[in-house]
Structures are given as structure tokens and as C-alpha cells.
Homo-oligomer: 485 residues x 3
């Protein structure tokens, strides 16, 4: 059997009708080469601080990508066969064997975004020209391994090559940020920053919550058992992150619930959470109050506040016990935003100093709740189609359900939210193409003027990310290209 | 800088593929000039009773349009800058300044239905040929102001020009209907009617509920503290509205919940609501019972019953305190219909004398609940895509999710639901074009015969509104055009 | 008036854009003539055991089709006029009169899947060439009646003609399966099987639950009042069904809730359910536990487990009292899967011996819950777009919302789920065409390679049904056609 060729359609994702396709192409040409802003992601800052080469294809493509692992696992392939070691030890496939297992099951990814991203990277970054399959597995592994050893595939070189102008990683509130400290001394200081993610110290459902607060007390010297001391400790850590370039916070609670409690009530809940006497309702209420406190601190210190709610983390207890977190067993649930966010919005909804970016996995909320909320409250913006919805269909649903009520300017532009470094340009490319397709369809249907579409293509690919994440604090804006469109 | 031209694509919203586009055009030609039926809206009857000219562009386009105000507000523009006075007074922009503020932010409305409607009115009604922007703001303001002073822009002339054959306004149950009384003596008597909206006297969550019931007692002489007297009072007010032409009632509760209580239980709830001892559950249950009572009265008196549920009114308390209602801070919520409507349907679901038209803001209910309910219960019909969904994408989602289960004949045709008089033809035009697009796509895909599409285009643009609102009581039906299709 | 012609567009449901249309055509040609696998349906096994001819059009098209009855009923047509007798007796239309009533209201079905299926059958199976309407009603009735009397329209001949390679009916756990017993002695033994549907003996909300358990005890000799005896009895009945060819079970609970209780707790609930002291929560919890028990038994005996949750059966009590079940008054509701299925998944989620096929009527769960669950858990697969969503738009929404997260290989292929024997090929044809359209659009948009689309067209039309229902136990797989595509 001959392996199939690997080709990327230069017009992929564009509309099929000729006039709309021409328009999409013209729009895309103006944004394809814009620098990448990646204000929300999960790459490892140690990669960039140390700049050591990656070792092999499995390390780069399988290990960090729970999208890939989950699909293979769903079809009965054990994680050990994919090179993922169980916590308790035991046999695990070597990288090449894991890669072969992946390759022979590559058909499972047909029409998924993983496939689109992977093919893009294989083709454009590694120069591969045959489709991945059982027959080509070893060739892929060899060529990718050889490439990774070359200096132009070292982490910083990759960022340059990908034209990543700005990249934010995400670290927990207790992180010492040593990698970021090392980066502060390099020309990358303003381009690679961290994000303050305090879930571990504000969500009492975190397994080691009390221990985390003890660590917080050690780091800050604050009396975290007192409500005011606890808030001071959080302010201290925010300042620590800000000093290392952080522009934003990130919050991933199970629900979007917020609260407005008195300090006395908050103190009582804090007591209960620390003593272990808090029940589930107490813990949720405490977390709800803490989201409002985080909004207040954002009003004070100007950090953009990102809210990713609604994923049931580690839904599969057997898998969690054996392999730990981030193995693809996080499952979204239906979510209410209208009553959940109200306490926070009652305090800060009309305050433009707050920039609250909300993401959702529950698309039923796009047109029903989130677009109406964002289309009214000055503090609120909508993050891009997220996680399972970071895909061609997912993005089209997002634009079609959001735009008519919230417009474009209450959205923030794309972010890649990824641990998979090499997929960053592929992910942004899909987003840029889909947005150009959406705009081109509007133009062709007489719903948007062509000159406006060009302005918007730049905003969606670059401008809105720049402004909504307030990147002007550390970066000069790359202007929109001249249009002769 | 030269302002961009303002153009309306004659094929806007039609499919791009040539055969479907040709079919959409052919369909649209047969409905474009049909008279407008507007059986549900919120224009001010005083306009038509007094027929005084409007004054300026801000009065016509900004003040009555919460869609426009909300979008500008969401981007941090104060309502005072848009000419909206705070209740407590204070500086407010004059109409021209407000208009400029709107004009310089016109880009915010790109790809929203507001933009489509506004451009349509600017172009077709006011003859403007440059796009609204900061540079053209004054020219717009001057030209629109000059036009409004001419007799053909007086309210009644505008209705004639727009071919509005029938228009229903909406008034509260306590309204004296004096404007409608004045209209009774004119040739407009049968063309402009009112709608009975009793929320203020049947929903105990209304702020002044007890006072409203006192007023109801004054108006009717009934003992509204007795359950039977209270129902009599409502019957009396319905008759008062019917005598002034009302054909329908309208209900905007927070939920769609209905109930079937005994008179004794209802009396106990009424007591509690009047004495202020009713808790939230009591008040909701009372409101639920009252929806069923309204259905009973509709069976008796033949008034069409409209149910618009699911909006959290005045979600922003700061804004409400400063500016009052209808400033764009109403936010939809998820809604159940299947259990909520059951008590009402248990009594009247099989009774064709009842015509219950249900609207929703929760599109997740279209295919899941509302189409199956309307595709079964004889009393039930689905109102058009409403409010945030009164838009090209919103209408397409509605047709695509409703039609296969409920068909076309369990829907009611478009209504504009607007306070913005000048936008009425633009709104109906969008609906007619989108419906023709939907039908044309069905024809081109072999899912509907072409001759049937022509019949349906007329039904969706005119016939279904005429029949489901029972307009034959006051109007002669404009027949379908001859088709040589 | 001349009746309109009845035509089937050979390219129906395909994309309109020429290159995508060509691709859809090419794909469809390779699957159009594949045998039909119907692993889930509700035809009457007596038809095939006795092979007696059908009598008339009303018996074939109206009586078994609640889709048709519900639409006519929704427009105020009494079921008696359609030939459906009330339980209490009374006048009922004869078959020809019922047919006329249907025919004169055929316009109600425009753009519904019923219309697509009916026209297909009328045209391809009965050779009719004029559209059904009042004028052609008698001609239809006469021609269809005459055809049905011919041997090639007898039930078994129809299955042959339709190339139905495998057909599963559905019987309750107490059914003696006498028709299937008779079939065992014929060449149809491996092609027509039953499905084990135990709702009546595991759901305590079933009206005659205690009586059903008494019957279960009679059939099996087990002590069904003891938890272990009750489970034994169910194992015995499963074995009885398996001995008659059953490969799968089917479950239609009101919710998807599952549980993991101790035997003692289960015994207590069983006691309460049998004594009539169980409240609604007890009954739901018992049913939840029984779903987990069914999963365990499927792990043991290898039967595929199908879960169809979320329909409120017999929502219309007046209609139910007069006519009984299956008259179109079942209404879907919003459903949670993520917490509901967790207890079952906690036990068997990682066990590939279990094949759990989940269907939904709540499309909001497609992308939010079901695709993420199926894209992770090895035991889980998604059934096709079901019931109200078994339609062109419904299937497209399904593919577009499912595929990017769950892929194709975590879905099961189409099943027709029908009582309407003659509509089976029409239903499969719609599914095959829509799937080819979906694939062709992916190819044309550069999201899928053309050779992969051909492989997938076969999988979606045949292969995935064969494998996910484990039909290799009784059938030889029809291979994919050679592609020169």
C-alpha cells in the first residue's frame, strides 16, 4: 500500500461559492502573516527559560495534548500504550512504540480539529508530504526527531519562527515563577509573561486547600485565617505576578456563581473551609464570594479577569486514580450565567475599569445569556470559542450565535489555550480562516460592507486581543495592513 | 476622509448559489409588496391619535430603541451622552450631540440586525446615500430633521407609506385607552388596535401589585379581594379592551409556569399577595394560576393569548435605579416549557377555541420542546423568532429547528414587536427575505416543490399572521398574488 | 385543478455548490445500494412470521405512524377522522375516509421528514407520479390497495425488495416471543431478531409494575421480591431473548439517571416499590440502579445496551385517556447526562466489554455533554439523530455538533426506529444522502481527504452499525465497494 499524500488546501475552510471564496481569500491575505498574540495558554515557561531542544515526536505531539489522548483512549487504547505512565508505575510504551500506536489510529481524528492542527504542523513545520498512518509512522518519528535536534526547533526559535509576538503561560498562585524570573533577564521579558491562576487558594474544593493556604501564609507572611489577612495575601501574590509581567488572572471554577457577602459571613465561611466543617454549599458559596473579590482586586490593580467555568474536572475516577489530571476526562455541564454572575455584576457590571472575559463550554448560553450580557454590561467581554469548541464548526456557531446581539467589539479575539507549542500557529490559522469565511459570507450576503470586513479581519486576528488583554502595557501594536481591497 | 457609500444589496440575505438565489428572488418578488400586518408591537398610540410630526433623528432612532442603547452602553458610553436623562436629573446630551455620539460608534453595530434595519430606513425612507459615521452625523441629523417636518412623515402618513394594513399597540390592563378612543372616530379604527397586557394586575412580583389591584377595583367596581370578584374585574377589563378593538392579550412572565388550583387555594394565594405575606413561591404560583385563568377567559371571549416568557427584566439594578425600565438590561434565561405549560394544556390543550401563541428567548427549546408541543397540541402555535433572535441568523435557526417537527402551519408569521416606528418595514423586509431564502434552499435541495414554496412565501409573509391573530374579525384578507412561477 | 406531479430530485439533500455536489453524488453512488441494517426498530414480528398481505393505505401509512397522526391532530383534526378508534368506542372513519382526510391536509407536512419519506415510498415503491392531495386521494388509495394484494408486497417480500439484511424488532421483557419462535424455523432466523426492552419490569413508574413483577416471577420461577431473585429473573429473561437471537437491550427511561447502591439499599427500594410505599424519588432511584444493573448484565452476556432517555410519555392526559399510548403526545425535555451517567460510568466506563449506545432528544447535550463523554469513555457510543431529529436538518446538526469532539468512530450509524415498515428504505436513504452531503462539504472545504470520505461513507451507511451492534455474531459483513473515486 502506498501512503496517501499529505496536502493542505490553500483555500481550506473558505466558502465554496466563488464570490464569497474570493472575498475570504482577500481578507485572509491581509491577516495570514500578522504576528500571533497568545494571551491565554498553558505552555511550560521552563521551555523558554532553558531553551533546551525537544526530544521526539511523542513528547511534542502526544504527551501534552489531552485532545489526542482522549480520542485514542475512547476507542479502547490504554494510555500506557501511548507512553503515559501510571502513577503506580508499571510497563509503559517507549516513545517510538507510542507513536506507532497513534499513527495506526490516525483515522480516528478525521474531521476533528486535532487532525487539522496536526496536518498543518506536519506539513508546514516539519515538511512532511505523506499522510500519517501505520506505514509512515517510523518515517515521521525519525524526521521529526531529527528536526527537533536542530537549533531552529529550540523553543525560543520556534516562537520566533511562528511570529509569536506575545505569549502568556498560566501558573498557580503559589508558583515561585522561577522560569519567568530567568526570562526577565532576556529580551523575551516583555513577550513571555505569566497569568495569575489562584484556583488552588480560592476554591475550597481543591484537594489540599488548607495546605495551600498555609503555603500562601508562608509566602506572604499574612494571617490567612483572618478574612482581611487572606485577602491581603492574595493581593500580595497578584503584585508578585504583576511584577513578573502578568496582565491577567484566570479562573476555572465548576460554576460561574458569584456572591456578595458581608466580611463577617465571609470570615465564617473561611473558618469552616479551613477547619473542614464546610459542606458543599458552603464551599461553593465561598468560591462564589472569591470570584467577586477577584473582580474587586482587578478593579484595583487593572488585571484582566478571565472566567472559564463549567467543566467537571476528572470525571473518570478510575482514570484519575491511575494517571492523575489532564488526561481528557474533563466533561462540560450546563451552566447558568444570568443569576450566577449577577452578584458580581451588581457591584462591578457598570465599571469599565474591570475587564471580565467570560468563556463557556455550554453553547446554549451563547445567544441566550452571554451575548445579551456582553451586549449590555460595560465590564464584560466574551472570550473565543473554547476547548471543545475551538474548531471550525465550533467557531462558526460562536460567531453566528454571538455577533447579532453582542457585535464584534464585545468579543476578545482568538486565544489558543494550548499546551501543544507546535500547534500554536495552526490553531491561530484555523481561527483566522474561519473568521475570514464568516466575514466573507456576510459581505456576499449584503450584510456587511467590504471595507468593514477588512477592518474586522484585523480586529479579530489581532486588534481585539491586543486591546481586551491590555497588551499596550508591554507591547507596541502591529498596525493593520494597508488594504487595496 | 470620504464617507463610504450607503448601498442596499437588492439580493441581500438570499442564498449565494445561483439557482437558489434565483428562486429566492422569484419568491421575494411575490411578497415584497404585500401589506404589513403588525399584530404585536409597542408603538405609542398617541402618535397616531394626534398625528403630530416627530422632531429629530435622536427622538426617532435612539430614544425608543433599547437595542441601540444597549450596544452603545456595553462599550462604556453613558446613557446621558445618548440623550437619556437620569431620573434624578443632571446633564444630558442635546439631541444633536447624542446623534453624533451614536454616529461615531456606528461600527459597533456591524452585522447586527440594528444596523440592517437602520441602513434600510436611512436609505429607503430618508434617501441617504452615505454611510453614517462621525463625518456624516450632522448631515444625517439635518436631513432627517427636515424630512420629519414634512407632512408625509407624520405618523399616519408613515403607516400609509409603509403599507401597514393592521397595527396593534400594547397597553396595560389599567390603561384608559384614550388614544385608542380617539382613533375609534377615525378611518383608522379598524387598522390600529390595542392589546390587553395584564402583567401589572396578575403578576404579584409587580412592584405596586396591591395598588394596581386597588385601581382595578376602582375601574370595575368589583371586589378584587375576593377571587371571583377579581376574575370578574379582569373579565370586565378584557371586555373594555375588546370594545376598543383588541383581539389579543399579551403576557410577559418571568417563567412559563402555569397551574390548576382550586378556587379556595387561589383565594388563599390572593389574600397572601394582597397582604404582602406571600413568599416568592406563592407569588410564582399565583402568577402560574393566572395564566391558566387567562387561557380560560380566552376560550370564553376568543382573544388570542400571547405568552412571552423568560426574560429577567432590569437585571442591572444600578442602571434601573438611575434610568428606569427598558434600557436594554433585560436578560434571557433557560426556560422549561414541557412541565411549565402542562397544567394549562391539561385543561385547554385540545381545545381549538384557544389560540395560544408562545414565544421564547431560549432557542434550546425550539427543537426540543416547542416544536414537539406545537406539533401536537391543537391550541398551540409558535410565535416568530423573537427579540434577540429577530435577526437573519436567529430566523434561520428558528426555521431550521422548528419546521421539521412543527411544520409551517403551526407557526404564526412574523411580528415586529417594536417601539421604533420607522423600522417596521425594514424588520418585515428582513423576515420576508430570510423566509424566501429558507424556502428557496428547500426547493433547490429537492425538499419542497417550487409551487408549494410560492404558497408558503405568502403564508409566512401575510397569511399565517392573518389567520392566527384572527384578523378576519376586522379586516379583509389581501389575497396571495398570482404566481407564474 | 390538475394535480401536481410527484418527482424525486435525484440530487436531493446534496450541497448546491457544483464541486461539493459532484463529490456527494460520487459518495452516494457507493452506498445507495448497500444492504440495510436496521438494528433498532418497532415493526411487528407477526407481520414477518405470518407474512399476510397488508390491506390498505391507511393501515400502512397512517395507523402505525405517530409522526403523521400528531401533525394532523395539531391542526384540529380528530383522531377518529383518521381511523383511530377511541378506547370507549364510538364512530370512527373507515380507511378510505381517513385517507381522504389525510390527503386533503398533505400540505401540513411540507418540509417535514414525514413528507420526504412518504413521497419516496409513493414514488419508488408504489410507482405514483402525482402528488397526494384531495383530488388524488382515491387514486392513491385504490392503487396502493391493489399493490398490497400482490405477493411482492407481502411483508417478507418487502424486506427482500428493500435489501434489509438485518432487522431487530423490540419486545417487552414479558413477551413470549412466539412470532420470533416461528421465525426461528425459517431462513429469516438470523435476519430478524428481537430486542430486550425491560422498562415494564425495571421502571416502577410503569402503571402495573407489581403485576408485571408477578408475571416475571411466573415466567422464571424466581423470587422477585428478593433483590437477588429479581436480578436472577432478569438474567433468565435476557437469556431467553438471546436464545431467540437478541443482540441488544433497549431502555427508555424518563431520565438518564443511574446509581450505585448497596444490595441492602436496593432491597429496601424494591420492597417499597412492590408495596406501593415508594415515593417518586424512590422510584427514580430504583430505576437508576436498574440501569446500572443492566450495564453489569451486558458486561456479563455481551448484549449491546441502548439508552433512549428524556421523553415525557403521554404528556396529554385527555388524549391518553381516550386513545392510549403512541398517539404523538410524547414530548422531550432537557436532560443532564454528565452527572446522571456518572455512577454507571464509575463502574463500567473503562470497560470495553460494555457497549452502551446513548440517544438524546436534547440537542443542547450533543456538543456540550455527549460528544465529550463519547470522546473519552471506551464503553460509550452515540446513537444517531433520533426521533424528532431523524431529519435532514436534525442529522446535519448532529454531525456538525458531534464530529469534531467525538469523531465518526464513536458513533453507531443510522437506525430507523420505526413502526412504518414501508418507510424503512426511505429513512435510510435520507440518512445516507445527508451523510454524503456532510462528507462532501468537508472534502470541498479541505477538511477531509477524498479517499477518507469514501471509507467513511461506507462506515456511516453500514460498517459502524455492523460493528457497534456486534452483528458479526449472526451475519456476514457486506464489504465496502471498490472505489475508483
Amino acid at each position: 500500500m502506498t501512503a496517501a499524500p499529505l496536502r493542505l488546501d490553500p483555500d481550506r475552510f473558505f466558502p465554496l461559492e466563488p464570490s464569497a471564496r474570493e472575498c475570504a481569500r482577500a481578507l485572509y491575505q491581509t491577516v495570514a502573516e500578522l504576528p500571533i498574540l497568545s494571551p491565554h495558554g498553558h505552555t511550560d515557561p521552563v521551555w523558554f527559560a532553558d531553551n533546551k531542544p525537544f526530544d521526539n515526536a511523542t513528547e511534542v505531539f502526544l504527551a501534552p495534548d489531552h485532545y489526542v489522548l482522549r480520542m485514542l483512549y475512547s476507542q479502547g487504547i490504554a494510555l500506557e500504550e501511548l507512553g503515559v505512565a501510571a502513577r503506580a508505575g508499571g510497563p509503559v510504551a517507549d516513545p517510538r512504540s507510542a507513536w506507532r500506536r497513534f499513527a495506526e489510529n490516525y483515522h480516528l481524528f478525521r474531521a476533528t480539529p486535532s487532525r487539522l492542527w496536526l496536518d498543518h504542523v506536519f506539513h508546514d513545520v516539519f515538511g512532511l508530504r505523506q499522510r500519517l498512518c501505520a506505514e509512515t509512522a517510523d518515517d515521521y518519528f525519525d524526521r521529526i526527531g531529527a528536526a527537533l535536534a536542530r537549533p531552529e526547533f529550540a523553543p525560543r526559535a520556534v516562537l520566533e519562527r511562528f511570529k509569536v509576538e506575545f505569549l502568556a503561560t498560566t501558573e498557580g498562585a503559589l508558583d515561585a515563577l522561577s522560569a519567568h524570573d530567568r526570562l526577565r533577564a532576556t529580551p523575551w521579558a516583555r513577550r513571555i509573561t505569566t497569568t495569575f491562576r489562584p484556583d488552588d487558594v480560592i476554591d475550597p474544593d481543591t484537594p489540599d486547600f488548607a495546605a495551600n493556604l498555609a503555603a500562601l501564609a508562608d509566602l506572604t507572611g499574612a494571617d490567612v485565617a483572618r478574612w482581611s489577612g487572606y485577602l491581603d495575601a492574595l493581593r500580595t501574590r497578584r503584585a508578585y505576578f504583576r511584577a513578573r509581567g502578568a496582565l491577567a488572572t484566570d479562573h476555572g471554577p465548576a460554576s460561574a456563581r458569584t456572591a456578595n457577602l458581608t466580611p463577617a459571613r465571609a470570615q465564617a465561611l473561611l473558618d469552616a473551609c479551613l477547619s473542614g466543617t464546610a459542606d458543599a454549599a458552603d464551599r461553593e458559596l465561598f468560591r462564589a464570594q472569591m470570584l467577586t473579590e477577584m473582580a474587586l482586586m482587578s478593579v484595583e490593580d487593572g488585571m484582566v479577569m478571565q472566567l472559564h467555568a463549567g467543566s467537571w474536572r476528572n470525571h473518570n475516577p478510575q482514570l484519575f486514580a491511575r494517571f492523575g489530571a489532564n488526561r481528557g476526562a474533563d466533561i462540560p455541564q450546563a451552566l447558568d450565567y444570568v443569576s450566577a454572575l449577577k452578584p458580581l455584576l451588581d457591584r462591578f457590571g457598570n465599571d469599565s475599569r474591570l475587564s471580565l472575559i467570560v468563556f463557556t463550554l455550554d453553547e446554549a448560553a451563547y445567544a441566550r445569556e452571554l451575548a445579551p450580557l456582553a451586549g449590555h454590561y460595560p465590564c464584560l467581554k466574551l472570550g473565543p470559542a473554547w476547548w471543545f469548541h475551538d474548531s471550525p464548526e465550533g467557531m462558526l456557531r460562536y460567531r453566528r450565535q454571538i455577533t447579532e446581539t453582542a457585535g464584534f467589539y464585545n468579543t476578545t479575539g482568538f486565544n489558543d489555550d494550548t499546551r501543544a507549542l507546535f500547534s500554536i500557529p495552526a490553531r491561530h490559522d484555523v481561527a483566522r480562516r474561519i473568521d475570514c469565511r464568516f466575514l466573507a459570507e456576510l459581505v456576499s450576503e449584503g450584510r456587511l460592507d467590504r471595507d468593514e470586513a477588512f477592518e474586522l479581519a484585523y480586529e479579530l486576528a489581532y486588534g481585539l486581543s491586543f486591546s481586551s488583554y491590555r497588551l499596550g502595557q508591554c507591547l507596541r501594536r502591529t498596525p493593520a495592513p494597508r488594504i487595496d481591497g
